[in-house]
Every structure is written in C-alpha cells, then in structure tokens.
C-alpha cells in the first residue's frame, strides 16, 4: 500500500518537480540527457526573467486583476448566497440553476461581444477590461460556493438576534459574517486562484506585454530561434508559487469549498 501511494504521489508531483529542476539548469545542459537530480544550481533563467523580460509587470498585472475581481465579487456574492441559503422568495430554485448554468458557460461563447463592448468603451488592454469579463465566471462560482457554505451554518444565532428586533441586514452583518469568515476566506481563495489561472479572456482582451497576465506572458514567450525553455519554466515556477502557498496553507478550506459546492446540490 505504501508503495502504491509513493507511485501515485510521484506521478502527481513529478511534472512539477521536473519543472523546478529544469528552471535551475543552465540552457546548455537542458538539451543534454536530463539528470533526475540537479547537479548544479544556476539562477541564470530567473535573472533573465526579471532583468531582460521584466516579468514583474505580468506578476503585478495578475495580482491587480485577480485581487480586484475577488474584492468586488465576495461581498455581492455573499449577500446573494445568504438570501439563497436562508430566505424565502419566489424563483429561488430557478436562480440557483441559473447561477450553476452560467458557471458552466464556455468562455469562448462570449468572447466576441465582450471584445466588441470593451473596444467601444475603450477598455481593451486595461485592468477594468479584465476585471469585468472575470466576473462572468467568478460571480457564479462565489455564489455557488457560499450558498453551500451558508446552508450548513446554524440558524439559531441569527434567529435569536432577529427575535430581539435586529433586522436581517443587521443580523447578517453582526452575527453571521464574523462567524462566516472561514467560508468567505475559502471562497476568496478559490476565486483568486481561478482569476490567477485564467487564460482565454486575458489572451483575448490584452494587446501587449504591458498588460499581459502571468499565464499569457509565459504562453507567448518566444526566443529568437526556439522556445527559451529555461526562462519559460522559470516563469511557470513563478506562476505556480502563489498557488502552492495557497494550497499548502488553505488545503482544508479549499477541499471544503470544492465539496460544499459540488456534493450538496
């Protein structure tokens, strides 16, 4: 059983390990027979990445876009999810089905009107020009996750507060939200991850390196003669670092978020 587990963990982690090793291997050695264990560590690719390619620009772009989208989405989604999980109103099931359906939209199916609309508004190649499209998948995702979360939340506290005369909004703000911090945090992390990883919209609505996000920047790296693998993989490592940190620190929350959304319909 231990052997099986080792093989599985190995298969899951090997591509990431290999990427890490290669990003520290000199360009010349990269195309010789690869060695599984690094023999010498070279920082040349990382130096090239930040000195000649200005990789901090896409990192900053990604942080700004993913950060703003998350900050904008969470409060609006939380209000909606709370109502969906707790309050009686007509068309609730329909709304929930709509949210799920929109989260399943193929992104390509709305690229054309978003492109034309952003062009008309002069928002192509700007931060708002990415935050707005990112709402299409992040808003339904956050609503879906938070609805699952609020459903499992004990009702008694807010009901007691409301019996004492607090309004819904006050009960939500003063009783529910502070206790809901873990759920809000896991939803915010997942929203951020989805924005950080997004590719198609960023590829479609940015026009130049000054606005590329990290995935677009590394996908479009070109050398003079061939793929500059060392720098590409170093860029991929930089793109992966925040993901690894978030996953390692918040893995319980992430699993809870994923399964709350998917197994309790």
């Amino acid at each position: 059983m231990i052997a099986v587990r080792a093989v599985i963990v190995g298969a899951l982690l090997f591509p990431l390990y290999w990427m890490l090793v290669a990003s520290f291997t000199t360009e010349a050695r990269l195309f010789e027979a690869p060695s599984l264990v690094p023999t010498a560590i070279s920082l040349e690719h990382y130096r090239a990445l930040f000195d000649t390619r200005d990789f901090l620009v896409p990192v900053r772009n990604s942080l700004v876009v993913a950060g703003f989208t998350t900050i904008f989405v969470i409060p609006i989604a939380a209000l909606c999810a709370y109502a969906l999980a707790r309050m009686p109103f007509r068309g609730k099931r329909l709304l929930l089905a709509l949210v799920l359906a929109v989260s399943m939209f193929p992104q390509i199916s709305i690229v054309a009107p978003l492109y034309l609309g952003l062009r008309t508004l002069g928002l192509l190649n700007t931060y708002p020009g990415l935050v707005l499209p990112y709402l299409t998948f992040s808003m339904p995702l956050a609503i879906w996750l938070l609805t699952g979360f609020f459903r499992h939340f004990p009702r008694e506290l807010e009901e007691a507060a409301m019996l004492d005369g607090a309004s819904r909004f006050r009960a939500l703000r003063e009783i529910v939200l502070p206790l809901a911090a873990p759920g809000l945090a896991s939803t915010a992390i997942l929203t951020f991850l989805y924005c950080w990883n997004e590719f198609l919209f960023a590829l479609s609505f940015t026009l130049g390196p000054e606005r590329y996000t990290v995935p677009v920047a590394i996908a479009l790296f070109r050398g003079r003669y061939q793929v500059p693998w060392g720098e590409v993989l170093a860029g991929a490592i930089v793109a992966t670092i925040p993901v690894v940190i978030l996953v390692l620190v918040f893995q319980r929350h992430i699993v809870a978020g994923l399964t709350a959304g998917a197994t309790k319909g």
Binding site: M19, A22, P34, C80, L114, L135, A219
Partner: protein, 298 residues
Amino acid sequence: MVSFETRERRTAVAFVTPAITVIAMVALVPIALTFWEALHSHDLRLPWLGRPFVGFDNFAEAAGDGRFQAAFVRTIVFALVTVPIEIACGVALALVMHSAIRGRAFVRAAALLPWAVPTVVAALVWRFMFDGQAGVVNVPLRAVGMMEAGFDWFVGPLTAWVPIALADIWKSTPFVAVLVLAGLQTIDTSLYEAAAMDGAGRVRQFFTITLPLLRPVLVVATAFRALDALRLFDLAYVLTGGGPGSSTEPLSLYAFIALLQRLRFGYGSAISIAVFLLTLGFALLWVRALGRTLEGDR
C-alpha cells in the same frame, strides 16, 4: 405595518439584485449578443463593408466547413476518451487517499497541486517533457528501444494528442478524487463491517457498497469534467497551437482563431455558439438521464 413575510421577501430581493444584475450584464446579455452577432457578416478587417444581417449564412458556412466539422468531432472524441479515464483514476486516487491513515494530509496536498496549477503551466510542463530529443519522456523510451531516433510527438496528428490528453488527465484526476473522497467519507463504515461478516471480499464490497453509494458524486463529477473537456482551449493552444496543421484543434480554438486572428466576428460567433450549444446539449441530456436514474431509485 408590513408583515414579516413581505419584509423578508423584499430584503431577499434586495440581497440578490446586485449579483443578478452583474450576472445579467456580463454573461446573459453577452450570450444573447453572440447569437445576434452570429446572424451578421462582420469582418473587423473590412470595416467599410459594415455589418449586414445575413440570417443563418454563418451557420450554413460552418456546416459545410471541413475544418469546423473536424474540430467538432475532435472535441467530442477528446471528452469521450479523457473523462472516463479521469473518473476511473479519480476513484482510485480517492480510495488511496481514504485508506491512508498517516500522511493523508500530504497525499491530499500532493493531489491538490496539479489541480490548482494554472492550465498554461500544466501545458508548458507537459510540452517540455515530451519535447524534442531531450524530453524526459523520450530519453527512457528511446533507451529501451520503444521509440525510434528522431521521433517527435508533435509531428504526428494523433501522437500530438498524447501530451494534451495526459496533461488533462494529470490536472483533472485530483479534482475528481477530491469530490469522490468527500463522498467516501459519508459512507457508513458499519456497512462494510456487515458485508465482511457475510463474507464479502474487498472487491465485492467495492462493487456492491462503495460504487452504488458514490453514484450521485460520480454523476456530478462526470458532468463537471465533460463540460470542461468540451470547451478545451488552454491546453491545445499552449501545447500544440492546434497543430500539426489543425489536427489538434478543438472547437474553442477554431472559434478563437476565426474571431481574434482572422477577425471574422460573424463567423467566429457562429462557431462560439456551436460550442455553447454543444455544452448545453450535453447538460440537458445529462439532467434528463439523471432524472431517470433518480426515479429508478424510488
């Protein structure tokens, strides 16, 4: 004095309105506009031609376009091949994670990483591993004589799919496993104890207890995976660019090329609508099939 129920209903409407407005503006209105755009001839490189209404001409053109037909078939075949593998591997991985007593957190973290990594990164890593003569996959295959010298995965129209499919399976299996693991944890262990008392072996227990009880989770996981596979874009764009030729080009990629490289917005919108209808069609079929199995349970 307004009754409590009325006030509650009004508050609920006030709570959901901002979110619904956003979703309508950025998703529902755009999808309607894509339909509308698909009914026009609109070439951004020929702005003087304007944007005349052409009815279903773009759809007729797509129906007769060999590249569209091939991309359509490819997209479906890709989903049919990868999704069952991901579900099977996901169940296996979940069982391993479930049985691990020590080191469970470690295995779980290892499983979450491929899922959480940007798809572009996954594509680049798998491209690198299969690339050229020094690719880490190619060296051992050549060493044991299973691969000819000079063989290149990305030159063959079929072999170029191998890294795409493997990257997808590598990245998506953990997602399935996380869902299945949650399902496994809800199964009452006394069922297994009772089955063991009756002399049922591990394999029998899996097929008579575990698998049937996992069905709801598997149905959900299959739906998520299939919808994702049908809109395949990132992996194909980064790993092969759709090549060689257009032999690894899924529908989303062809739509992207028609829209943003050829700037044929009318025709590109028609292809995008095909992607939308494909996923919608699958979703409706799946919901119907799901309804039937649930009724069968009663």
